[in-house]
């Protein structure tokens, strides 16, 4: 399957936006973690902004980054949001409330608990009526999300906005299901190259034992990759930050990988730094 990356978004401790991570991946500085950035969820109407939980804010932030970087109308792409559990905080609150005497859960918390809550908020905010999928595959969620998005791009011939993201469980569920920190990445994928295209991807599922998935050279980034299901996408981001073509392998099902050949595309748009300055509030879709 061949497709094109037109925009990238990123959210991680100490990093907000693709430019932050790309500098590290190009070896310009080391990754040292840090505080979580503030979510950029200004695109949400005031009521929704109040109601949104952390995973919704994260997904909306990521979606906005990729859409702005790709210069695409946000009502155009179909949506694939991938997360192992979605809103771990809402889920924990609900399970705790249901173990109390009165079992009262708030209507808002209940509708925020569905896995497609984030895509619901995003599509309401930008007025998109395109198909929206919400998927999960535990620690293979990043590869599964990439495959589902790529298959949509190729089979339907449409642009797809992919966001992979996770937030940690609070106690007591964090002991049963440890997710190390907040992490998310987003890609705007297209069936044909445009003036915004950053790279061409050729994706295949390998069944032979192609060895383990790629790891990150930077030990801090490798800790992140191992600690958060969504961060298993980091080797692909490493390849996207490079100047030359390379092939990377992401974890998929046992004994299988998703292999991606990444070929950077040089276009005039790359000389305009505003294309990747995707945190300017006035550039909201």
């Amino acid at each position: 399957m061949k497709l094109y990356v037109d925009g990238i978004g990123l959210f991680a401790p100490g990093l907000h936006g693709w430019a932050d991570l790309a500098a590290i991946l190009r070896g310009e500085r080391r990754y040292e973690g840090g505080e979580l950035p503030a979510f950029d969820h200004a695109v949400l109407p005031a009521t929704e902004r109040r109601r949104a939980g952390k995973s919704i804010k994260l997904a909306v932030d990521l979606a906005g980054q990729a859409v702005r970087a790709a210069g695409i109308d946000p009502t155009e792409p179909a949506i694939v949001f991938a997360s192992t559990t979605g809103d771990t905080e809402v889920l924990t609150d609900i399970c705790a409330a249901l173990a109390t005497e009165d079992r009262m859960i708030s209507p808002m918390r209940f509708h925020n608990s569905v896995h497609n809550a984030a895509s619901g908020y995003w599509t309401i905010a930008v007025g998109s009526r395109q198909p929206a999928n919400a998927i999960a595959l535990h620690e293979r969620t990043a590869a599964a999300g990439l495959l589902e998005a790529a298959v949509q791009v190729v089979a339907e011939g449409i642009p797809v906005l992919l966001a992979v993201y996770d937030i940690p469980f609070p106690p007591p569920l964090n002991a049963a299901e440890p997710i190390a920190t907040v992490f998310g990445a987003s890609l705007l994928l297209r069936p044909e190259p445009t003036t915004h295209t950053l790279a061409e991807l050729t994706i295949e599922r390998t069944k032979e034992d192609g060895g383990a998935a790629d790891t990150m050279h930077d030990p801090e980034l490798e800790t992140l990759r191992r600690g958060v299901p969504a961060a298993r996408i980091l080797p692909l981001l490493q390849a996207l930050a490079g100047d030359s073509g390379t092939t990377v392998t992401l974890d998929y099902l046992a004994g299988q990988c998703v292999r991606i050949a990444v070929m950077p595309v040089r276009t005039a748009a790359h000389n305009n730094p505003n294309n990747q300055a995707n945190q300017t509030p006035e550039a909201q879709p």
Binding site: G120, I124, R129, A175
Partner: protein, 414 residues
């Protein structure tokens, strides 16, 4: 689009185990709903519960996966010769060429809900090991199904609330179309839990009695649980392996002809009042099927019996199909099985095609006088060639499917 055949299928819900149980209840107009006796739930409502799950643990080899949701999956997989049909497909194509795509809204959340009652009073810790990944994480039932059936093809869990197991058909079609697999097991499993019972109650969407879709006095949903699976294959892939025409007794009757997906962009828990997103999904499904609205013989409505859903869906159906295409909801039989509603109603569509049945909406006494679609109240028997099935969920997430009868000519030419 190129059709996919449903070469095997199975369903288990409050009407019983296997397709024949659902068909018999549809024909006899016998509901599976009963006053709620699930655990210690103290809500005044009716549910569609699957009997016997408490005594049917999953197989020893997969005992980490043991929870109500996976028990329901396993019970369904054991009906209708489905395991044997999948085993045959596995030998035709290879285990890694058969995908598993499952829809669920709440997965095995009941397992975690009950664990919270057992927290350590001192530390607040949950009982260990919890087996969260195997019981509750959203791909739990996809992973269980894949292992139970011995498949290693592409695997995915879709969780878009009540459209989840309708969207599995779209994802399967794309995976097959792009050559990532040759066949797919699609399905949906959702089981009773406190989250949905108390959650829908908090939204005042739960009816005190059995749900009454499209009725003037309808007052909310009845929650049910269900599992359903279908094996999807390309007819030409079967032909290449000498399987067409099929042997008598294994003759597939139903093909997936189209799907349509959309969102409302309106509200998290209330549908667009004019059914705009619903109409977009139905239109897209018809376009993919290459069918005019008038070709559809029967519409299986989402028809939850909530005031707003039924009214919005009636508007969308009337705008697109006019006022004469027969339509009904089957939720008066099964209840709203949430993440399993899409597959349950897809397989009811298949039963309707196979047996020439248009089920009249159960519990619908007086059709809402504001409705203009052709809501059927009584069962009818007539040839059924094309059925459209709707599934709409929270987040305004919509999916519509078109199924058609496989003609003898298709078997030969395929």
């Amino acid at each position: 689009m190129r059709p996919l055949w449903l070469t095997a299928s199975t369903m288990t819900n409050a009407l019983g185990r296997g397709r024949a149980a659902t068909l018999a209840a549809l024909e006899a107009r016998r509901t599976g709903l009963a006053p709620c006796d699930f655990l210690d739930v103290d809500l005044d409502t009716w549910v569609g519960r699957v009997a016997g799950l408490e005594d049917l643990p999953v197989i020893d080899a997969l005992d980490d996966y043991d929870c109500r949701n996976n028990r329901l999956a396993q019970l369904a997989l054991r009906q209708d010769g489905f395991e044997a049909a999948v085993a045959a497909a596995r030998s035709r194509y290879g285990a890694d060429r058969v995908a598993v795509i499952m829809g669920t809204s709440t997965s095995g959340i009941l397992h975690t809900e009950l664990a919270f009652r057992e927290r350590d009073p001192e530390t607040g810790a949950l009982p260990a090991p919890l087996h969260y990944r195997e019981t509750h994480e959203l791909s739990s039932v996809a992973e269980f199904t894949r292992r139970y059936l011995g498949l290693t093809g592409p695997t995915l869990s879709i969780s878009t609330a009540c459209s989840s197991s309708a969207k599995v058909f779209a994802s399967a079609w794309r995976l097959i179309e792009t050559g990532l697999c040759d066949a797919a097991v699609v399905g949906g499993v959702d089981s009773l839990c406190l989250t949905t019972l108390y959650g829908f109650a908090s939204l005042e969407l739960v009816a005190p009695g059995p749900c009454r879709p499209a009725d003037a006095e309808r007052d909310g949903i009845s929650i049910g649980e269900a599992a359903g699976f279908a094996l999807l294959e390309r007819p030409d892939a079967r032909s290449e392996r000498g399987l067409n025409p099929p042997v008598e007794g294994e003759r597939p009757t139903t093909a997936l002809l189209g799907y349509g997906e959309s969102v409302d962009a309106h509200h998290m828990s209330t549908p667009h009042p004019e059914g705009l997103g619903a109409r977009l999904a139905m239109q897209a499904a018809l376009e993919r099927a290459g069918l005019a609205p008038s070709a559809i013989d029967y519409i299986n409505l989402h028809g939850t019996a909530s005031r707003t859903n039924d009214s919005a869906e009636d508007k969308a159906v009337s705008q697109l199909f006019g006022h004469s295409v027969p339509c009904s909801s089957t939720k008066g039989w099964t209840g709203h099985t949430l993440g399993a509603a899409g597959i349950t109603e897809a397989l009811i569509a298949s039963l309707c095609i196979e047996h020439g049945l248009i089920p009249g909406s159960l519990n619908t006494e007086t059709v809402d006088p504001d409705f203009t679609s052709a809501i059927q109240r009584d069962n009818r028997h007539q040839p059924v060639h094309y059925v459209l099935s709707n599934s709409f969920g929270f987040g305004g997430n919509n999916a519509s499917l078109v199924f058609g009868r496989i003609a003898a000519a298709d078997e030969v030419s395929a």
